[in-house]
Symmetry: D2
Subunit: 335 residues, 4 copies
């Protein structure tokens, strides 16, 4: 968010300028020098307005802006990015469904989930080989084996593969198998990892940290592009809130800001955002309505037996219903 | 949110029970007595499940629940409430559009806004006669006069009128003119006011306080019904967040919880939630997708000249576009 | 918080000015016009610096400031306010202890608590006659009777009386009995109530709302002074947080800002902030160290039987220990 | 926080049990089975109470507890940990001062800061060789060279060295030079890094993530001990808040919980918490009063020229004043 300051000419018509700024949708605060109104600060929730528009207002002496901190992110704005052959995400592209299990628990599970994902109209298989876990005593994924299961299942079902990388030293291994590298929320500001993942030169899915501001999120994306990532897709997955009815607090306002103000490719993960199977469908629709270019959902053929996040996983028929309701075409690259 | 505790029989099959609970979408924590697993606590973001379902699971000894604190609110669940003759809001009813200016600044303004609202498919005129203002030196509304302007404009355009009451001593005056009494965010827990407003026996629009939990919001609704309100419509208008790109943090997860888990009538005010004219339309659609039964938006024929909240007001053509995009029928009660 | 903007002269030595601003403790962002650095915005957590200091820096063309929104609050800065005869709170005055029960449940309770408070070195008796309650079915205080009990107990023990007013129509009744009128957190932005309470012309204790910014809190104080309050004492009682170990999130940083940057009289209510009897003493000491001019604690002769907030009430011997540990003199006005 | 559930015997005296629980400082909610009160849930901000105390209450049938998730952290409770020869931190030990520059910018800077730190009574030199930065275009530290400067300066002034490790592959290099390995806020849940740092077998300073709950923080500590760390010292450095007057929101309630309820070694970093040089001293005192066993402050001989965080750095005379005011003995291991 770049603040804007507007300095006025000596005898400027202050109310007329104020009126014009409000017409442009800008929230302002008067600035004074030695007690006289000499400018306006454009604050908080204002939409972007070109500085030329402002400097051309009668009575404006000069316009001061904060320069962008993320020129490379700005440069990928307002166009779809390519995730893989023929799969585009963003602006004018159709919504993209990422689906799959929380964790790749077995080849059978992964295959079943991938087949259902393809059937539902997904173009990307998601699933964890390496899992971040709050407790050191929890299941942390099947690692290398799981990467092979996921790749095979993606190929068999004509899907791209998106999976999380948690450690710099695993980047090359994961990049060998995955089409899209995922940065988890807990690592959004793990700058060494961002550097290493950027260096793989692939599309990256960047989850928002639990209390990141939009500026911090955009700057984390800049770390990726500055280090060579081919593109960055932002993923909102809920921030830390104070109410216990949902696992996290889904911030669709931020999604609208990214999609509409910044023109960035952005998707939503309602599974982690609310943590409730019963609310995935309405919030997936809400995400798309707010401007998201896709959704990522967890699905499992036998959620009761899932080794992690079972309560938020859709069963495979619910996944199919969701895909249909989102109006997704039949699988694009089905084998 | 009522926690649930499940005590197990001595030789219960703990993994099988755990699996069944996960299938039901429940997040659980194991409970122990003297080191042995003897129960489960159902935590956080779990969906509602009848206690009979749980007590019938093989191996469950007993189920403990927290009794509801809001029996009257529960009793209005899963059916539409009547706001006025022929205007229903909730479950199976069509989405309701509330539209109008932040403040009723003049009869001309109010008429123009009401006509445009009706044209856009709104059924309720919103507008402030008494305005809460953070600074003691800001415009606080035209009071009694404004109530007359609003009532006349509503009648002339076949609309219901919803307006805020800020003080107990004004309840009878406002209730004389308005069809729906609005409780503002800052007064959600002004219990004397809730008592007085409830006593008017009318439908009440209850805005969520800036950091209220869902439980606190439901209990505020209970105060209204316990004192005689004919119905309560909940209105999400954004909670306090830490990012400056939007005025507040729109919590559509909470809307989904109210609409789908609690079956309550709920609408969204995207104008205050994000404070940005450019994001009102996408977030209105998102609100409806998430489960909201209506939206409330600010509109002004000359936003640059608005005495309050100009930057978030739609102009009248944008309002019309929004109504059309929401697929709202022509005005129901047009004169 | 008033943002400051600094415009530079054409050939200003930008690094030298940046360095000087940092020496002054200011966080800054560069501002540009047409790509060239032409100014600095002073942001976020910067301490107050007089604009003359800034305009006298070599190379600075002009300094723009946001004018204060609370001139009356500013005018009461940096001096102690008088709560009652001989009892001063603020800057150079000794810490003031407010103590008493959550609710005035009976004359006996109130007397016992008042005697213990006086013994502990308190100068102000706190206690509720009218209680805000989240549920409409909870005990709401004994009202008028309780006011008499509290007044009598305060007088018998040489204490001032501070009690909450929740409704405009009760202001004159409460003002007749109390020395200090308390605005509760839920009413910090109940502007009609602030007007009525201000009109009583007494000192007011203004609790911070659960998610109020410091600016909103100061402006609420301005409402009180603008309507006639003789002084405003700010009271931090914890804001809404996400962790369940404490009832609310005690914000001693805000206390330090009020006490040191704004020079305002400020106290802390650790009882509501953490809701835990076992942490009242350390956090009372922390409050005073951070700059608070007093603390307000709940105490009850028989906490197990308290009708509200029992788990956070100190017993009377713990109250006495706390008073002694805070080094409070013997009661100032003991009968 | 481990929830506790209490099941009652059939004809238990419910009010008497409720009263006893409140006396113990416990917040409770009634639990019912088929409408009758059959138990209590101990909620939210309750202090720890042994389950034996509860099961011995007349009328209690059984007590269910959530087993701890962090047995190794629990095992280091209520005793001081050893940071280096003769330097203990925790329970009964004297407060420990960590001081030094944000970043080790040059040997001269590091030496000057270390000498001042020792003079001020610090026992640990802090300073960054590898710095996490929100923007990819900011200074990220002098790396290996800086480690040598820091080690030399620590040795020359009889100080221990604490410095941040950001990447797994740097752990052995940093561990070679530092006495205490620091995990930064952004990496609190970078589990690969926790594993690697734990493996070095040294004391670890674990900063709290920007929106971590206390449970998540304790579990991150468990990751460290489970992987071999010799001890974990927790460091509160402010969480994400919504007010702009301070850089972050200092949570001294959490510090009190860690120190008093969990008996863990904990320090506070007021520099990052508030980001304001003018408030470091009062908040350092407040931290110690709340229960912290030490403070970590940034100090710089020429703050205006600092490459990072200059506005929050104390100058060296302010550092000395702070050390004196905290009553720290002369340097323990001065050369």
């Amino acid at each position: 968010m770049s603040n804007i300051l507007i300095a006025l000419k000596p005898k400027a018509d202050v109310p007329a300028i104020q009126r014009r700024l409000t017409e442009l949708g800008l929230w302002t605060r008067k600035l004074t020098t030695a007690g006289a109104t000499t400018g306006f600060e454009v604050t908080g929730p204002s939409p972007p307005v070109p500085s030329e528009t402002l400097s051309s207002i009668e009575g404006v002496a000069s316009v001061f802006v904060t320069p962008t901190g993320h020129p490379l992110i700005d440069a990928q704005a307002r166009r779809a990015v390519e995730l893989g052959e023929g799969v585009r995400l963003g602006s004018d592209a159709a919504p993209v469904l990422f689906a799959g299990p929380c964790s790749a628990e077995s080849p059978e599970l992964v295959n079943a989930a991938a087949a259902a994902a393809a059937q539902a109209g997904a173009t990307v298989l998601r699933g964890g080989a390496y899992k971040p876990r709050t407790s050191p005593y929890s299941f942390t994924g099947h690692g290398t084996k799981a990467l092979h299961w996921l790749r095979a299942a993606a190929d068999a079902n004509g899907l791209l593969l998106c999976t999380e990388v948690m450690d710099s030293e695993r980047v090359s291994e994961v990049a060998e198998h995955a089409d899209i590298l995922q940065v988890g929320s807990r690592n959004m500001q793990n700058f060494g990892l961002l550097r290493a993942i950027g260096g793989a030169g692939k599309p990256v899915l960047l989850k928002r940290a639990m209390s990141a501001s939009i500026d911090e999120w955009l700057l984390a994306g800049e770390h990726l592009l500055a280090n060579g990532a081919s593109s960055v897709v932002f993923c909102e997955r809920g921030i830390t809130g104070h109410d216990r009815h949902t696992r996290n607090l889904l911030d669709l306002g931020a999604v609208a800001v990214l999609a509409h103000s910044y023109g960035q490719p952005v998707i939503v993960d309602p599974s982690h955002a609310v943590g409730r199977r019963d609310l995935i469908a309405p919030l997936s629709h809400a995400a798309i309505a707010a401007g998201a270019h896709g959704v990522m959902v967890e699905a499992h053929p036998d959620a009761g037996a899932a080794l992690s996040d079972g309560p938020q996983a859709l069963d495979l028929s619910a996944l199919e219903q969701l895909g249909a309701a989102l109006g997704l075409a039949a699988p694009l690259r089905a084998a």
